[in-house]
Amino acid sequence: MTNSPERSRWLREPMLHFLIIGTGLFLLYQFVRGGNETAPREIVISEPRIEALAENFGRTWMRPPTPQEMRGLVDDYVKEEVFYREAIAMGLDRDDTVIRRRLRQKMEFVSEDTAATAEPTDAQLQQFLAQHPEKFVEPARVTFEQVFVNAGQRGDAARRDAEQILASLQAGRGSALPAEAGDATLLPAALENASPQEISGSFGDEFSKQLEAAPMGQWSGPIASTFGLHLVRVTARSAGALPALAEIRPIVVREWQAQQRAQAGDSFYSSLRSKYEIRYEGEIGQLLQQAQPAASAASTQR
């Protein structure tokens, strides 16, 4: 590339792309409409159109249409085109969720196409990493064992039983496999380097939160889950930390690119949105207007 950095940045500017695409669409529209709002309403049955209709028929019926059938196909096409144009003129598309969503989607495609897919520099990535630690921070992890006490089966005695088992575990008595001091369960007897989310997935949120407060290296509890009581021994904890760029470069690249695409979509939307005034009506409308406008919707991701 011999372009100066300024020039290539200018060429990559999404707004420019939108302007070019937009101008093109406008010119095309003017051309198709003959640049005149009052042009006669004309439906052109071109040769390629006829061929396409015939071919479509042939795919279904495995033979070309007869002249009479061809007449029917063309009439049907004309009917469809007339209804389509009139429906648009009457604004019927505006109330149709499916059509509205599809058109929105097409616009999002347009915006996404302009998103830069260039390789980021280390400096860009470093900055991105610093600005978005929440995306890359390694969650706190816990390694622990647990002994299950089935409160459903043991009833009122459960807590007392749990405390007795705890005393025995703390004294180092009993089986070499601590879990054998407790009741049968399908929950794992131990988890290694588990994140809070993984712990919640097996034991539920209530347990996961209480485990955070459990002391290191010794049996403690009982703590409650949706299943019953648990005695726990935490043998390792690692605090959450932000890794260095070199360790996770491919992941930062992935996230940076995802954000570039989302930003392109957002700026495309903002540029369109800025052309519109929103007028709020009624009492609730007034309340909504006073509230801060919601952040622009995230674009679709690929």
């Binding site: 479509n56 989607q105 097409k106 459903g152 919640s200 889950s225 996230e255 690929r302």
Partner: protein, 654 residues
């Protein structure tokens, strides 16, 4: 999550968890000893044996974790998804499965309550990535007349254009004429993008992205689809291009392709068939597809070598049992889709025995006796078959079959026909409100890695759920007693003295009946359990097959009635509010069950069905959230369930 991606990518992976744990613990031992806080007896014990055995659990080489996932998800790379409004590619699909918030193709923000542990993106091999090629104006697509035309239609931005593009593609698939046969390089690009995405998101120990695709063969619209799933990474999977229905029309030829892949790369691959309920009797047919020859031993062995597992429940209906085949099973009619297929042929009752899993398992016993091999000796899983890139399996978080049917008040969500579009008889139409919001695949494995999970599938130590994450374990053996249920080392005892789900019971010592040890635990965030059932199928001396469903554990103080039926658990569902309470049912149920009618000379299988208490169906949540009328032809509440893979008994131990 992200650091884990890297840390685990660097960690040597083994399917023997013992080795992983031991090496991790070894490193930690030095630190812990230095701090002198370790309880002395444990250390002494460990040192006496081997330093690396500090943690007693390090020796648990048996599978003690259950992992939940979806083996059947479509993204915008599937022609029928991308041409029907799905704009989300594999990256969004993986992010969503891992628990991130993703905005759906129709603009609805979406997130899972709990992330999945694993995901298989199984995009259709037939013109893989076609919607992406259209979207990108891929010059290789535009080089063909057909490609230009479908691009023009696909890019019109109108419903008509989209429909036209979809129809153009569908008619080629139905006719099995690859419109892009000379554009194999484009398909290879798309495949490599998908395997790239799998490598980027696969994080051994945390989240597994298994590589896969769907082979979409449907003669005359009758479903014989299979999801092909690799044990291997990109390095091996990229050595082949996915085989499509254009290439081979017969599952036997698909197995040839799979064998060739294994030969060429040294890798492993399996195929998981689905939706026998839409196969019009072809899924478990008595004859081969092309030759129409009776099944023989070689067929049976090859089928089970390559297709050890069947996807029994998904959005397009539940295929465990059919009420007309199991008339005494009051729970057999669950999310049943028994009307029509994708083609013009109408459904007739004689097709049903060759469509449903329980009947196929029974007929398999007869084949085993006759051929010396069982063609239908499969394990069972569920999955979604979502075409939205969003693996949603929950009733209150269901994004539908395709993007156009994502959550909204639009009547299309309930009324869109899914099957029977081409049958003359409109009663053979099945609409989207019948869609089952499920299911999931659960695997008992040693670790959350590609090889550990794939191996669990291969040995059928897997079970199906209709979307819930309830846990269920079963062991069968001859020496088990009721007291074993109280053992806290239930699993270790089970493995040492019996076989787990998917296993084979060795022949019975002195005609002794086997005992099943079963435990089930509800989803931590879900509904309580109603009951555990054992489904037994067997073959009598006259060659007739039979079945019986036994209630073996249930909540509360219910007593079976005179006819042996257990009273219903009750129903707490408030339909207006779409709520339920756990005031009925039990969080944990266990049973030790000895077969009361065991005959050591009869072939049999046993599988476990676990039922939850009734909860609101997705249509009931929809009615509440979108203030739309509750559809009258689907139930307002359902009992979500799990089906384990069977355990087989054979007099000669085969």
């Amino acid at each position: 999550m992200e650091l884990a991606d890297l840390v685990h990518a660097l960690r040597p992976v083994s399917n023997l968890r013992a080795i992983n744990v031991a090496s991790v613990m070894h490193g930690r031992l030095g630190v812990v000893l230095g701090l002198a806080v370790v309880i002395a007896p444990v250390v002494c014990l460990a040192q006496a044996v081997d330093k690396r055995q500090y943690s007693p659990y390090a020796q648990q080489a048996f599978p003690d974790r259950v992992f939940f996932g979806d083996t059947h998800l479509h993204t915008a790379y599937s022609a029928d998804a991308g041409l029907a409004g799905n704009t989300l590619g594999p990256d969004a699909a993986y992010r969503f499965a891992k628990g991130e918030r993703v905005v759906s193709s129709t603009g609805v923000p979406a997130r899972l309550r709990q992330p999945l542990d694993f995901l298989v993106i199984a995009d259709h091999a037939e013109n893989l990535g076609l919607p992406m090629a259209i979207h990108r104006d891929d010059p290789r697509l535009l080089a063909s007349e057909w490609g230009k035309r479908i691009r023009d239609e696909g890019k019109k931005g109108t419903v008509e254009g989209m429909t036209a593009a979809y129809t153009m593609w569908m008619s080629k698939v139905m006719a099995l004429q690859d419109p892009l046969a000379d554009r194999q390089d484009m398909q290879a690009t798309m495949w490599h993008e998908l395997t790239d995405a799998a490598e980027r998101h696969n994080a051994p120990g945390r989240f597994t992205a298994l590589i896969g695709f769907e082979w979409t063969q449907q003669p005359n619209g009758n479903n014989l689809h299979r999801n092909v799933i690799f044990r291997d990474g990109k390095d091996r999977a990229d050595q082949v291009a996915p085989v499509s229905a254009y290439d081979t029309r017969d599952p036997e030829k698909l197995w040839d392709w799979m064998a060739a892949y294994e030969q060429k790369t040294g890798g492993r691959v399996m195929a998981i068939p689905h939706n026998g309920n839409l196969s019009n009797g072809l899924m478990f047919d008595d004859v081969t597809l092309t030759g129409q020859a009776p099944l023989n031993r070689a067929y049976a062995e090859r089928r089970m070598r390559f297709e050890p597992v069947y996807e029994v429940t998904q959005i397009k209906g539940d295929g465990e049992a059919h009420p007309s085949l199991s008339p005494s099973d009051e729970f057999a009619d669950f999310e049943t889709w028994d009307n029509g297929s994708f083609g013009p042929q109408a459904k007739t009752p004689d097709m049903l025995p060759r469509e449903y899993a329980r009947e196929a398992l029974k007929r398999g016993l007869a084949y085993q006796a006759r051929l010396g091999a069982n063609p239908f000796k499969f394990g069972m899983i569920g999955s979604t078959d979502s075409h939205t890139s969003l693996a949603t399996a929950e009733e209150n978080n269901f994004f539908g079959k395709v993007s156009a049917l994502e959550p909204s008040a639009d009547p299309i969500r309930f009324n869109e026909p899914i099957t029977g579009r081409f049958t003359k008889d409109e009663s053979q139409r099945q609409t989207h409100r019948m869609a089952s919001a499920g299911g999931l695949a659960a695997a008992w494995a040693t670790d959350n890695t590609r090889d550990a999970l794939w191996d669990a599938f291969a040995r059928k130590e897997v079970y199906a759920t209709t979307g819930t994450r309830l846990r269920v374990r079963v062991f069968a053996g001859y020496e088990f007693t009721a007291k074993d249920l109280d053992r806290s080392d239930f699993a270790r005892h089970g493995y040492e003295n019996g076989v787990p789900m998917g296993g084979d019971l060795r022949s019975s010592p002195a005609g002794k009946a086997p005992t099943l040890l079963i435990a089930a635990q509800r989803d931590p965030d879900g509904a309580n359990l109603d009951r555990i059932q054992v489904v037994k199928g067997w073959l009598d001396a006259g060659g007739q097959t039979h079945e019986q469903v036994y209630d073996v554990a249930w909540s509360g103080q219910r007593k079976p009635k005179a006819d042996g039926k257990l009273p219903a658990v009750g129903n707490t569902v408030n339909v207006q509010e779409a709520t339920f309470t756990n005031s009925i049912g039990a969080p944990y149920l266990a049973a030790s069950w000895k077969d009361p009618k065991f005959d050591a000379k009869q072939r049999a299988f046993y599988y476990v069905r676990v039922l939850e208490i009734p909860t609101p169906r997705w249509t009931t949540y929809d009615a509440k959230v979108f203030k739309v009328a509750l559809p009258q032809d689907v139930p307002a509440s359902i009992q979500e369930r799990a089906y384990t893979s069977p355990i087989w008994y054979s007099p000669d131990g085969t």
